[in-house]
């Protein structure tokens, strides 16, 4: 059963520009689903369609297999409480303190226990010392925690995150991402996270969709998409965030670690091929004892050596590809 299913969703802006073009997306319960795209790709519009902050022209969105909204059916207020949202600019009410902000959704729902539930949510995000502080007295990271507590207090099934960490520094970003990841694990809250930051998506998502010019160009499990992006935009997004170089015309070889490679491959290239390779970039991590990631090596200048390395890698059944940096 999918928690959120988006079917053939299309949207045009007033100037007739097609922002979203027949989007299909299936988000399952417990997913941390990343939607990655460059600015203007339509990802923010897409996520705002899910809780009805935007309307759309064609298609349907289903929530737990029930029709949530469509081009003709407006979303019901009560569903908004089950689908929380956090924003890039936090959007806390500036004239209300932390407790009042967190209790806001409960107040809208006429919840008799609102103070108690709000306090619990504040404690859960670790801001028990700031209960009566005003947003202007909090750091960005703390404000985003309040925003998370505000949706958490309503006990949501889904949290939509609209570039929630884009305004934060790297350390704070990670702590917010980890908090979201914990909420996903502890309460089974499905998270839909849009971002233009590859690192943010990579840190907590299990699935990812890459959106470009209003269409989904690639989607699937995170490792699959990130280790071997096929679409040009996907490659651009995934490599550019990792490699900031001026390697203008340089040719390199990207070796993929997909969990099946169990040998010191670089050392072996040097030993077995007798070719000295230089590593341009490496990013690997060990998940459940297996190595995932990628290593980028400079393609040897002599074509003999280069072919030797490629043949060796092929023989060893190692996934690799040639990459040319523009």
């Amino acid at each position: 059963m999918s928690t959120i299913r988006i079917q053939n969703l299309s949207k045009r802006f007033e100037d007739n520009h097609l922002v979203l073009d027949k989007i299909n997306l299936n988000i399952e319960k417990g997913d941390v689903y990343g939607i990655l795209g460059l600015s203007g790709a339509g990802k923010s519009t897409l996520v705002r369609c899910i809780n009805g902050l935007e309307t759309f022209d064609e298609g349907e969105i289903y929530f737990n297999d029930e029709l949530l909204c469509s081009s003709t059916k407006k979303i019901d207020h009560s569903y908004r409480r089950r689908i929380g949202m956090i924003f890039q600019n936090f959007n806390l009410l500036q004239q209300k303190n932390v407790l009042q902000n967190v209790a806001l959704g409960l107040k809208f729902a006429h919840d008799a226990d609102m103070i108690q539930k709000a306090k619990e949510a504040i404690i859960r995000v670790g801001l028990q010392d700031k209960m009566y502080a005003y947003p202007s007295q909090l750091s960005g990271g703390q404000q985003q925690r309040v925003a998370i507590a505000r949706t958490l207090a309503l006990n949501p099934e889904v949290i939509l995150s609209d570039e929630a960490t884009s305004a934060l520094d790297p350390d704070t970003t990670n702590s917010i991402l980890d908090l979201l990841s914990e909420l996903n694990k502890d309460y089974g809250i499905t998270i839909v996270m849009i971002s233009h930051q590859m690192n943010a998506i990579e840190r907590i998502c299990n699935k990812v969709a890459i959106i470009s010019d209003g269409t989904i160009v690639e989607d699937g499990p995170l490792q699959e998409v990130f280790l071997n992006p096929k679409a040009d935009v996907a490659k651009q997004l995934i490599y550019s965030s990792h490699i900031h170089t001026q390697m203008s015309d340089e040719q390199s070889i990207r070796i993929l670690f997909d969990g099946n490679l169990d040998e010191p491959i670089i050392a072996n290239i040097v030993k077995d091929c007798d070719v000295l390779v230089s590593i341009l970039y490496a990013d690997t991590k060990i998940v459940k004892g297996k190595v995932y990631g990628q290593v980028l090596i400079k393609d040897p200048e002599s074509s003999i050596e280069s072919d030797k390395v490629k043949q060796y890698l092929t023989a060893k059944n190692v996934k690799f590809e040639e990459v040319k940096h523009a």
Binding site: N51, G52, L53, H77, S78, Y79, R80, R81, I83, G84, M85, F87, N89, N91, L92, L93, Q94, Q95, K96, N97, L104, G105, K107, F108, A109, Y134, P135, S136, A147, R150, T151, L154
Partner: protein
């Protein structure tokens, strides 16, 4: 004795009585103007472009009504309102309350604009966040738009009060009294030498002090209820 400096027709007691009427008519008229102008300003905001209830025709019609009312000179309104005042109070002139209806008529459209402006300063993101928390439109008005813009609303209220104090000068024309009308009366009886009369200047100083006190007190309250980031230090 202070009265020694006064002409026979104006005493210190009369100045205080005049001040009392000015304050009374100003506050009652302003509060009444807000009873009409506040909902109207909210409606103007909601129906404006990208507003929660965006509605061009309604916004246009309300806007035109407000603009017309704002452009009619107050003195004309005083005359136009006389039949209503008579119907309501049984007389159209000669008592302090006979100026109330014209003051309200001259002010509520101004209030509507000022309220609309204050509400427009609430960041759209805050309204969106409230919507994403399941708020109804009415809950957004009550819990987000008005409380979030309260500092601006208080400042607007003060600006309106000062405006209405100015409008109370037209009380002179229908004999409704108040300190500013008294200044006119004093002038009309002493056209030759009013500039050298202590009484004249004293009455003006009292009006200036009244405006100052209202303005400063309002600014103080507006600041004390504002929890937004303060850049000054």
């Amino acid at each position: 004795m202070l009265n020694h400096f006064f002409l026979a027709d104006v005493s210190a007691g009369q100045i205080f009585t005049g001040l009392g009427y000015t304050v009374l008519m100003t506050f009652i008229a302003t509060i009444a103007a807000y009873l009409i102008g506040l909902p109207l300003g909210v409606l103007l905001h909601l129906t404006s472009k990208n507003g929660m209830l965006e509605n061009k025709p309604v916004n246009l019609v309300l806007g035109i009504i407000v603009n017309i009312l704002r452009s009619v000179p107050c003195l004309i309104l005083v005359v136009i309102c006389m039949p209503w005042t008579r119907a309501w109070f049984g007389r159209a002139s000669g008592e302090w309350y006979t100026i109330l209806i014209p003051l309200v008529m001259a002010t509520f459209a101004f209030v509507a604009r000022i309220v609309e402006q204050s509400l427009a300063e609430v960041p759209a993101g805050e309204v969106e966040a409230a919507r994403s928390l399941g708020a109804t439109n009415f809950q957004i008005i009550k819990n987000v738009l008005i409380p979030e813009s309260r500092s601006g609303l208080i400042t607007g209220f003060v600006v309106t009060l000062v405006n209405v104090i100015g409008y109370t000068s037209f009380a002179y024309n229908i004999g409704a009294g108040g300190l500013i009308a008294d200044i006119w009366t004093f002038y009309s009886k002493n056209t030759a030498d009013f500039m050298t009369q202590f009484t004249f200047w004293l009455m003006i100083i009292v009006v200036v002090v009244l405006v100052q006190v209202i303005q400063e007190l309002g600014a103080l309250i507006a600041k004390s209820v504002d929890h937004r980031r303060k850049f000054k230090k």
